[in-house]
């Protein structure tokens, strides 16, 4: 491939993309120039980060504060049995570098909070939400809306998954247009309480990776203004229309959320310290 400055190795590695109508050399070059941050290296983050690395997204970021636990391995395929006890970002980065040594992997071994979110998210072109709790979902939504960055959203519960793209500044909906406030503590069970079908995050995470690659390459139509719902039990995908809310607290006409909020203390999942206190 002349004109795109690919190395011989890149021409071979990305051959099936380069010959694919709609991607081609230009699309592959766009992928190599792209910087995509995945929040969470768990069930959703595993396939997201692995497919982005394999696709040749030039800079892949992974953020997670947690360590690999044996109970993660039923679904978090970026980690292996040898990684139990290691920081998830370290284990994930090793897998990604093995899949594709030609990309840069950036790790953040930290919990995202109001104090560090803008600084961490600022350098990235696209942010992908692969977290497992409401506080960070609201934080990532608000930060990407305020920074004007596309957010590829996905979430799962038991046998059911959801995915969409929140695109700031186009009168397109954001997460708070759908759910203005996080649910009160105890009203929505977490994965730890409710269990999760192991392959489910694989399917939803692949959809998120697909949307990120489409945004980068301009391929097809992004999943904006539509929420994709997947039910593994009946094996059905349903698309529900979602709309921008002029009264949205973060992207509406008169925003009330102009700073980042840490919801940890009063949200769906008890914090670790709260669990410890009640034990």
């Amino acid at each position: 491939m002349t004109g795109f400055g690919f190395t011989e190795e890149q021409v071979q590695r990305y051959a099936r993309h380069i010959i694919l109508p709609g991607i081609g050399g230009a699309g592959q070059k766009a992928l190599l120039n792209a910087k995509v941050l995945c929040i969470g290296a768990g069930g959703l983050g595993s396939p997201i980060a692995m497919y982005l690395a394999a696709a040749g997204v030039g800079t892949v970021g992974i953020l997670d504060f947690d360590r690999v636990d044996l109970s993660n391995l039923q679904r978090q395929i970026v980690h292996g049995t040898k990684d139990v006890g290691r920081p998830k970002v370290e284990s994930a980065a090793e897998t990604l570098r093995d899949i594709n040594p030609g990309i840069e992997v950036v790790t953040y071994d930290t919990l995202l909070g109001s104090d560090n979110a803008f600084g961490i998210l600022e350098p990235w072109d696209i942010v992908i939400d692969g977290t497992d709790n409401f506080p960070v979902r609201y934080l990532v939504n608000d930060a990407t809306q305020i920074l004007g960055k596309p957010l590829v959203y996905g979430s799962i519960y038991q046998f059911e998954g959801q995915a969409t793209v929140f695109m700031p500044g186009q009168e397109a909906p954001c997460y708070r247009c759908l759910f203005p406030q996080p649910p009160p503590p105890g009203t929505v069970p977490s994965c730890a309480e409710g269990g999760v079908f192991g392959v489910l995050p694989g399917i939803v995470g692949c959809i998120q990776a697909t949307e990120a690659i489409k945004l980068i390459t301009g391929l097809g139509e992004p999943l904006i203004g539509k929420l994709l719902i997947f039910d593994a039990l009946v094996m059905e995908f349903t698309t529900v229309k979602i709309r921008w809310d002029a009264d949205c607290p973060v992207c509406g006409k008169e925003p009330t959320v102009t700073e980042l909020i840490d919801y940890d203390m009063f949200c769906g999942i008890p914090s670790r310290t709260q669990e410890g206190d009640t034990a």
Partner: protein, 66 residues
């Protein structure tokens, strides 16, 4: 009167609203988004949007797992 919510038939009383249906299936309207006959329904209209025979609804609740 019969409507179809998330692919399943549901019997609702005459004059029932979308909000009534959401509560009937055990969900909180604050944490559910609704598509009513193929169109996104604003949350502030849940209490006034009346159901009619054969209506199709998708009720989607917030989930956070990952």
């Amino acid at each position: 009167m019969r409507v179809v919510a998330n692919g399943k038939p549901r019997e609702v009383g005459p004059g029932a609203t979308v909000e009534d249906l959401i509560r009937f299936v055990g969900l909180d309207p604050q944490y559910v988004i609704v598509e009513h006959n193929g169109e996104a329904l604003e949350r502030k209209r849940y209490g006034e949007a009346r159901l009619t025979e054969g209506d199709r609804l998708e009720l989607v609740r917030a989930v956070a797992g990952g």
